[in-house]
């Protein structure tokens, strides 16, 4: 039993390799690959929303941000956004420059000379509607909550305006409404969804860079988008279960 075999043959090697490979294969059958990264839809039927953004299609027009402000009575000042666009520029010296003048609504002016640009791209940002959302976790009165459709919503008649959720959101997606004294954030235009209409930002996007849909339906556009592309979520290390998926996003983006 305890005697070490002196002569390890090629046959032994093959047997061991085969066992390991087979083991890995059977283990992978036990836990099948999930297309949805870092989160899993809860039990139930009905829609469970996810959002996808195709970085390569975004032209930085910020129609989404503009439409969102108009649709949702977001204050026009450049300190309150449910939805905004960032421009990333990576220079030949590997420096990262990020701007978002008025959330992109005023348009972007590239200040880096063209010869110094290695690459540049736009990143639209909005609520990630996390499945394990840190913002709803910390709400002291339960005014922030997750809807059965997987959307992080706020009951503004109930919110006390403590701002704890604003601190807890890793993505900077919440703000205290200056007139209402309560928190405000993206609802994925819940008021439109319930009427069978698309969210304002989705409708306004001229290049169809934004998609959304039911993650439970494996044939939905969003499920296909996540499956077919190399999708990532922001700050996966925080395990928020974010459901905003970006296609081929640079790791510099936070």
């Amino acid at each position: 039993m305890g005697i070490k075999k002196e002569n390890v043959t090629r046959r032994d090697f093959l047997v061991k390799s085969g066992t390991i490979a087979g083991g890995v294969f059977f283990a992978s059958l036990l836990s099948p690959f999930k297309g949805v990264y870092a989160t899993k839809e809860p039990e139930g039927d009905g829609v469970w929303y996810g959002i996808g953004i195709d970085i390569e299609k975004c032209i930085g027009c910020a129609s989404c941000a503009r439409a969102c402000k108009n649709e949702n009575d977001v204050p026009k000042e450049p300190f309150f956004f449910r939805n905004w666009v960032e421009q990333y520029t990576i220079t030949n010296n590997e420096e990262i420059k990020v701007i978002s003048p008025n959330g992109g609504i005023d348009g972007f002016t590239q200040t880096v000379p063209e010869k110094d640009i290695y690459k540049t791209f736009f990143v639209p940002k909005m609520c990630n509607h996390c499945e394990k959302s840190p913002c709803t976790q910390v709400c002291p009165v339960g005014a922030s909550f997750e809807s059965p459709e997987g959307l992080a919503l706020v009951d503004q008649n109930y919110c006390i305006g403590c701002g704890y959720c604003v601190q807890a959101c890793p993505y900077g997606c919440r703000y205290i409404h200056p007139d209402k004294g309560v928190v405000d954030k993206c609802t994925l235009c819940y008021h439109r969804l319930t009427k069978g209409l698309d969210p304002a930002c989705m409708l306004a996007c001229p290049t169809r860079a934004r998609i959304y849909g039911n993650l439970r339906d494996k044939d939905s556009e969003i499920s296909k988008f996540i499956r077919d592309n190399n999708c990532v979520v922001l700050k996966p290390q925080l395990n928020t279960g974010a459901k905003l998926y970006y296609n081929s996003l640079n790791q510099e983006v936070r």
């Binding site: 450049p78 978002s100 940002k125 305006g161 403590c162 601190q167 890793p170 900077g172 309560v182």
Partner: protein, 400 residues
């Protein structure tokens, strides 16, 4: 437009990139005041317990003062929070419909437990006999007040006083973990925010607890000297030396814990380290290195540490104790500042900074915060007038 003037100013003075919603600094100086005042309560109470539970005779002159100080600040502790709310009149929702996964929701209950069960009961048992006596001595309205305060119980027998003493002792024993809970819990409110690397450390509750003790002890030391100054009484130097000794020990632990936190941060140097390094060396340089560490920690440590080996003349010690207590109070205020404000100056994108001006979140924040710091002193003056510790009957043990 005027309302947003300071925000536009902040927008024009950004360093690097921050998320657009981060320009508004949501937690302002009022939220700095909240852990500061709560810490003073917990610290003052723990000093009282040192005398009562651990029987440190030398601290006797400060026992009742510590309790009354704790109560004065406790009565105001929630005010910075409530006045900071966007909807202050909805604050009660936190008590009647608490959301149990929220660290903040439990504060109301911890607060009420501490105020009602610990502080008020302990002070009541401590003063019950005296209030009965005073109710007999006074006339008219004051007689009624004292009677009401005794809850119309007029038993002055030795046996009843001994029962008071026993119950008071029991409450103090319960009170120590409660004080730990109260302030450790405040630390958890910040320490549990994983989105913010400046806050998110498991050390936060412990650091808050020890800094609370430091600040509470310094406050009682300061108030004790002030009361004696106003009443033209002599300070008990043995008492001051003993308080200073405890302040010294706890300050060492506090400094060690905070250093450990920073050293750990520096050594681990995770993805947030680069931005935090710039933050501490830049925007927080004055408040962190000069005020918190220099004025609030190193100077008091050096001074009291020196006194442990060589004791200069009494009056020099007294003056130094007064200066040290003020320095510690200022230092701990800046410690809270560095946590609360510092944690919001850098972007969660780790790509830039915003700046802080006191009027950023609506004009009167700084004045309001100052008000909530002054009101407890007025309450304390009232309590000292109503329940003067120097007119208390001798302790029951000394009667027999």
């Amino acid at each position: 437009m005027e309302k947003f003037e300071s925000l536009y100013h902040a927008l024009a003075n950004l360093d690097g990139y921050i998320f657009p919603n981060e320009i508004v600094l949501n937690w302002d100086v009022l939220i700095v005041m909240y852990p500061y005042i709560t810490g003073l309560v917990a610290g003052a109470f723990i000093l009282a317990s040192l005398n009562r539970v651990f029987n440190i005779e030398a601290l006797k002159p400060t026992y009742v003062i510590s309790l009354l100080t704790a109560l004065s600040f406790m009565l105001v502790a929630t005010m910075p929070l409530i006045t900071h709310l966007g909807q202050p009149f909805r604050f009660y929702e936190m008590l009647i419909t608490p959301h149990l996964t929220s660290a903040m929701a439990i504060f109301g209950f911890v607060y009420l437990w501490y105020l009602m069960v610990v502080l008020l009961l302990e002070i009541w048992f401590d003063y019950r006999y005296d209030m009965v006596i005073w109710s007999k001595e006074k006339k008219g309205f004051m007689r009624f007040i004292y009677k009401a305060l005794t809850l119309w119980i007029s038993d002055t027998s030795v046996a009843s006083r001994k029962t008071d003493d026993k119950l008071g002792y029991f409450i103090t024993v319960v009170g120590i973990p409660s004080a730990f809970l109260l302030h450790g819990y405040v630390g958890f409110i910040f320490g549990s925010i994983k989105a913010n690397p400046w806050w998110s450390t498991v050390m936060m509750p412990v650091i808050f607890l020890f800094s609370a003790m430091v600040s509470g002890i310094a406050l009682v030391m300061f108030i004790y000297m002030m009361i004696n100054f106003i009443r033209k009484q002599k300070n008990d130097i043995l008492c001051l030396d003993t308080i200073a000794k405890f302040l010294f020990y706890i300050l060492i632990v506090d400094f060690a814990l905070e250093s450990l936190d920073q050293i750990h941060r520096i050594y681990e140097a995770d993805e947030s380290f680069d931005i935090l390094k710039i933050l501490v060396r830049g925007k927080l340089f004055f408040t962190f290195f000069i005020m918190q560490i220099g004025v609030g920690t190193l100077f008091p440590l050096a001074t009291i540490g020196f006194f442990q080996f060589y004791k200069p003349k009494e009056h020099i010690r007294k003056i130094m104790y007064l200066i040290v207590s003020i320095c510690v109070l200022v230092g701990i205020f800046y410690m809270r500042w560095n946590v609360v404000i510092g944690g919001q100056l850098f972007s969660k994108s780790f790509l830039g900074f915003t700046s802080y001006k006191a009027d950023l979140a609506g004009g009167g924040s700084a004045l309001l915060a100052l008000l909530w710091f002054i009101v407890p002193f007025l309450i304390l003056a009232f309590l000292l007038w109503l329940l003067p510790p120097w007119k208390k009957a001798p302790h029951v043990e000394h009667i027999e």
